[in-house]
């Protein structure tokens, strides 16, 4: 009897020794997460339900419940509009980036001399597509597609769309090249994805008489669906945490404004975060739906 309990205790001891090792390895991250992520997030959530003012003695809180959210949506005439415009823009940009990177990676997957250099070239923007340098180029209008002026795209778009839609489309086209710069990582993921489809499958369908066109739609495309999903998620995160986007800018402006204060700005950021999460949820669900039944979802 006593031998059994001591054995159990030994087992428990052994287990906890193992667990302890795991926690020891995780310790730096855990400290960091609590101090630099969990605590700030919790604080800002608390703030979003409060009216916060900074006085000489520090922060002054007044509990206001959901009033920040209501004010932001009903009374503020800029925030909802900017939010919706940016959402529309992003919803247009995401497919643009995905189609472009898929197309380029398809080309880069073929064998031709100088392929390594070509791949390096398309990945180049990742090296500096963050930060101040890209803003410089944005301002200079260096990202414009050359055929825009040539074909008077401006006039044509205004003819077929209403004012605001046309402006948005033109804005996107004006920055097109730089937007496409955000597809470096996606191209690499797609290229890596192509390697997961075995060559023998292509040989088999060719023997069966399938044209390259058919083999693309029947083999390549379905096989790539999980990677398209992965890239969509990556693109969404990349675009929505891009620090220079207009929504984040308006949040920052409100943060330091004397009339609205930090609580109000936190509420804005939280609404924005909630929308991003919903969008990600939809993307993951679509990917799951598209790959279900094939057992390909990892």
């Amino acid at each position: 009897m006593s031998g059994k309990t001591s054995r159990r205790r030994q087992l428990l001891q052994f287990r906890w020794k193992e667990y302890g090792m795991g926690y020891l390895f995780m310790l730096p991250w855990m400290i960091g997460f609590v101090a630099f992520v969990a605590f700030p997030i919790g604080w800002s959530l608390w703030n979003s339900f409060n009216q916060v003012f900074i006085t000489s003695e520090g922060f002054k809180y007044t509990w206001v419940g959901l009033s920040n959210f209501r004010r932001m949506l009903v009374e503020n005439n800029a925030y909802p509009i900017i939010l919706i415009t940016y959402l529309q823009e992003v919803l247009l940009i995401i497919p643009l980036i995905l189609i472009f990177s898929f197309f380029v990676s398809l080309l880069l997957n073929e064998k031709f001399p100088g392929r390594g250099w070509m791949r390096a070239l398309f990945f180049l923007p990742v090296i500096f597509a963050t930060g101040q340098v890209i803003m410089e180029l944005f301002v200079q209008g260096a990202g414009e597609l050359p055929f825009m002026e040539q074909y008077n795209l401006d006039v044509i778009l205004r003819q077929y769309f209403n004012e605001s839609t046309a402006n948005m489309l033109l804005g996107i086209l004006g920055k097109a090249v730089i937007i496409l710069w955000y597809s470096g990582v996606q191209i690499l993921i797609f290229i890596a994805g192509f390697q997961t489809i075995p060559k023998t499958v292509y040989e088999a369908v060719r023997v069966d008489g399938a044209s390259p066109w058919e083999s693309f739609w029947k083999i390549t495309f379905p096989g790539m669906l999980p990677f398209i999903g992965l890239n969509a998620v990556y693109t969404i995160v990349d675009l929505f945490t891009f620090p220079f986007n207009p929504v984040l800018e308006i949040v920052r402006n409100n943060m330091f404004s004397p009339t609205t204060g930090y609580g109000y700005a936190s509420a804005m950021a939280w609404l924005y975060f909630a929308i991003v999460l919903v969008l990600l949820g939809i993307t993951l669900w679509l990917t799951y739906r598209a790959t279900k039944g094939r057992g390909e979802l990892r």
Binding site: F36, S44, L107, L137, G143, P243, A265, R298
Partner: protein, 327 residues
């Protein structure tokens, strides 16, 4: 007579077959057995890629060419991408305006030390998530994913309060300490990369080491880290480049004394244009006098990471495949 005719016939036949074979061979090389590996297809692909690549790098070419133009060249509409004479004055201005050596050192401190810290902590965390057993592991992995998604605005004010309480504002600690604790720039992504890498390694090595009585730490530093050298390099390079370019976070926490190059670029701009505040939406950019030095400054900033990329290009482009992120 008959023999001669027959001989002629045979000769003709042979010539015909040979000619046929030749055309067949030509057809094969041009069109290929499969549409994909013929020469025409290759040429089309190559041409398409060249066109796209040109569009793709045009902004960079524009930056370099503008930085080399004099003001006269800038105003003259006849001058396209290639300036009439190489003018290095812009670079001299930018060098002085950015206080380049000092800025370089500041940026280097953050990028180099921050990246080393990130490699260390993210590898540790990634290894624990991939191999060690402990309760709550899945929850922690989920939290890492959440940390990846949080927009920066949500946390900057609390972070600012924490940092100023600790007296870290305007010092490199605001980036180095979070990096040491696994919360550096895109740290979550690096943890995921390491986790995937360690998951893809065979377990046999560790089991053997364990049987020989190696402790988990010894195992990690002596066996797993050397194995992960490739993944470490990839993470280091990405982290380095991202830290180097970071400007938004830097603008919040570092406003004087210790400022990286990206911030110096915008303050240099203000000096050059005078008191006009930096306003990107209003298009200050079309100012021909400050444009040259600004582009020169931008090029000076991206030059070091560009150099790193040219040397370690293979590791960047193959890195994602190598670490098995997409497995």
């Amino acid at each position: 007579m008959k023999l001669e005719e027959a001989y002629k016939q045979v000769k003709l036949d042979i010539a015909e077959t040979l000619a046929h074979r030749k055309t067949q061979k030509l057809k094969m090389t041009v069109l290929g057995q499969n549409v994909k590996d013929g020469m025409i297809a290759k040429l089309v692909i190559f041409a398409l890629l060249m066109v796209i690549a040109f569009l793709y790098v045009k902004p960079i070419l524009y930056m370099i060419s503008t930085s080399l133009k004099s003001v006269a060249d800038m105003i003259d509409p006849v001058v396209g991408l290639i300036p009439r004479e190489l003018n290095l004055a812009n670079y001299a201005d930018a060098w002085k305006g950015l206080k380049y050596p000092e800025g370089f050192l500041d940026t280097m401190t953050i990028a180099l030390v921050g990246s080393v810290f990130q490699v260390f902590t993210c590898a540790l965390t990634g290894y624990a998530l991939a191999r060690l057993k402990f309760p709550g592991k899945n929850l922690m992995f989920f939290l890492i994913l959440v940390a990846f998604l949080v927009p920066p605005q949500l946390t900057i004010v609390p972070l600012y309060m924490i940092y100023s309480e600790l007296g870290w504002i305007n010092t490199p600690f605001v980036f180095l300490v979070p990096a040491l604790f696994g919360q550096g720039l895109r740290g979550a992504l690096f943890i995921i990369i390491f986790r995937q890498f360690f998951l893809s390694q065979p377990k046999a090595l560790e089991e053997a080491a364990k049987i020989d009585g190696a402790s988990a730490f010894r195992l990690f530093f002596r066996i797993m880290m050397p194995l992960a050298a490739g993944a470490c390099l990839v993470v280091f390079l990405f982290s380095f480049v991202w830290y180097w370019n970071m400007s938004y976070e830097a603008a919040l926490f570092l406003s004087k004394d210790f400022t990286p190059l990206s911030l110096r670029l915008s303050s240099m701009q203000m000096e050059l244009i005078g008191n006009k505040a930096l306003d990107y939406s209003a298009g200050v950019g079309q100012d021909p006098i400050s444009e040259g030095p600004r582009m020169a400054g931008a090029f000076l900033i991206i030059f070091p990471p560009l150099l790193v990329y040219l040397i370690a290009q293979r590791w960047f482009t193959e890195g994602i495949e190598r670490t098995g992120l997409v497995e």
